[in-house]
């Protein structure tokens, strides 16, 4: 079965510092991986995805993610954090075994300190 894990409930980082939000995955076959961000009382917004190709994927708002097949990881990164990046971040994998489901991690709360 497809699954993703986000090992950190919360990540704190100082404004201007680089940030990393971790995600590991377990899939059968090729992974289709996604990152989303959620602000309070709002729906999820798509940030980026890995389907195939370059291991470094660039997305919205200056975010990027690095796909690492040997470590089965898909960590979200940003070179310089902003206070406005404070939100809840979700990693997700698409089930490719006939159901089209998106399976989400438990979420990581990012807090950027001024």
């Amino acid at each position: 079965a497809q699954s993703v894990a986000q090992p950190e409930d919360q990540v704190n980082v100082a404004e201007g510092n680089p940030l990393t939000v971790k995600c590991t995955y377990s899939v059968s076959g090729n992974p289709y991986l996604f990152w989303y961000v959620q602000y309070p009382n709002r729906g999820l917004q798509f940030l980026l995805k890995y389907i195939t190709g370059d291991n470094l994927v660039k997305g919205s708002y200056g975010f990027e993610a690095e796909f690492n097949k040997s470590q089965t990881s898909f960590h979200l990164k940003k070179p310089s954090a902003l206070v406005s990046d404070s939100a809840l971040y979700f990693c997700a994998v698409r089930d490719i075994q006939g159901t089209y489901k998106y399976i989400f991690g438990t979420g990581t709360r990012l807090k950027v300190l001024a």
């Binding site: 289709y32 996604f34 989303y36 309070p40 009382n41 709002r42 729906g43 999820l44 917004q45 798509f46 995805k49 389907i51 195939t52 809840l88 979700f90 997700a92 698409r94 490719i96 159901t99 089209y100 489901k101 998106y102 399976i103 989400f104 991690g105 438990t106 979420g107």
Partner: protein
């Protein structure tokens, strides 16, 4: 461009009352449709998904049901709400291709009192 509409934004309902949440998608055809519930601002629980009209898959046995009467309309219902049905309900759509992302509505905050 495609848009997803979900309403209402907030809802307070008494225990035992019925529920109907509606979600519609514009600008695409034959989308996959999803209902998720988020409790306490954390993880997402997939409740139902649909790959076509009248085709509903249920993920978790519960007090809720879903219907897809039209291609771009997805409805979440309950005949009698329980306190445990409180939460943040999110509708989403995606294209059929595996490599595409899902797009979410703005959510409905349901409080059962």
């Amino acid at each position: 461009s495609q848009t997803i509409h979900q309403w209402p934004a907030t809802l307070v309902q008494p225990v035992g009352s019925p529920l109907s949440l509606e979600c519609t998608v514009e600008g695409t055809s034959n989308p996959n449709l999803y209902w998720y519930r988020q409790a306490a601002g954390r993880g997402l629980q997939l409740l139902f998904y649909s790959v076509g009209i009248g085709q509903i898959s249920s993920e978790v046995p519960q007090n809720l049901s879903a219907s897809r009467p039209q291609d771009r309309q997805f409805i979440l219902s309950s005949k009698k709400l329980l306190l445990s049905d409180s939460g943040f309900y999110l509708c989403a759509w995606s294209r059929q291709s595996y490599g595409t992302e899902a797009f979410f509505g703005q959510g409905t905050r349901l409080t059962v009192v």
